[in-house]
Amino acid sequence: MQSYDVVVVGAGPGGSGAALEAARRGLNVLMVEKRQEIGSPKRCGEGLSRNAALRMGIEPSPLWIRREVKGATAYAPSGKFVRIDYKEGPEGWVIERKAFDKFLADMAVKAGARVLARTEVTGLLREEGIISGVELESEGRVRRVRSSLVIAADGVESLVAREAGLDTTLRLPDAVSGVQFEMAGIEIDPDRIELYFGNEVAPGGYCWIFPKGPDTANVGIGVRKPFSRKTAIEYLRGFIESRPGLRRGSVLEVNSGGVPVGGFMDNMVTDNLMVVGDAAHQVNPIHGGGISESFVAGRIAGQVAAEAREARDFSEAFLSRYNKRWWKERGDMLRKVLRLRMVVEGLRDEELNWLAENLRGEDMIEFSKARGFAMLAKLLMKRPRLIGLARKLV
């Protein structure tokens, strides 16, 4: 039986972050991806902010950049908008996930990891109850691989962590229903991402237009129960139909997916296994972005994997240093942002319009980083109905 120090399940940004870090630290790493192509089909709007790239420690590359984004415009239901502009350089990029995810996987390969697409983990191996490896299936052939450590980066479905006994079920109120059309032949602002909020247009979420070229873009929506009353795709069709610049456009690709926007886990480890990325709900709950969160969490898990190998201790107690580091580095901030999500979802359309009149772009950036909450609370306090919501922020 082949043997590895660590098997990483899933080759998205979370898996590649883990594989890269573990391989850099000298571990013998196997990363498997059940799909025939890494990064496809995407379940993503493909926005990557400059801050996110910095957090990941990667340089922007023409290999995966589709469009530079100069700013963002957030629309309230009335049409009133807040412009978010960045003073230094681009705000970020709209990327091609198919190229980007392969780029990250290739970084892991260059660091020494072995990567196999179209290879599915069909079960965990156990010896005397302890996880001792994985069962793999590829092209109808089943084989077993030994490993003292498994990193489950298998996406929102999170089947591997569940098999290991961790409850990673995403609760419905924390699950965004997302649908997206990659469109061509449309009239858009080619240099800015656009976000549309409102209880009619996208209850519990927002609509987005992320440009991939002068007349092409990802046009998508995320909605959430209990706020939504129709399916996500019905809301998206309504949004597109209401906009002359989109209505006659072409559709190049259709995507859907579930995005975790809450449900952070205090414990993401068990004996011989750690969970990263969407599987552990590591997503910014105000905008639903998870690329950098997954990658950063994966890297922490990769570090801990190397330390566990060094100490020859793969127990839950040892691996829990991954919990501790992730919560310190990302979790505490994201949990604060979750409070903001709970405030925004409580606002009526008329209140969103009023906020758009009173907020600046800089404020919005601060909010997504869990800063400036006191200022927002002070503003909300001006309206008696919103005092309860404001209290959630302080």
Partner: protein
Amino acid sequence: MIKADKKLCLRCSGCVGVCPQSALKLTEHGIECDPERCVECGICVSFCPVGALRLEKGKD
């Protein structure tokens, strides 16, 4: 028991993530439901972004 309409389903597996019973799985035939595990709560039906899932009570 949950039935997926193969013509609507985009195979995104979001329903798998929200199923509290781990009753759903994406196979080469699309989303399949394990009737032994399914408790017919309908959470996956509420979640599905494209309305591809249907609850068939009492059938398996």
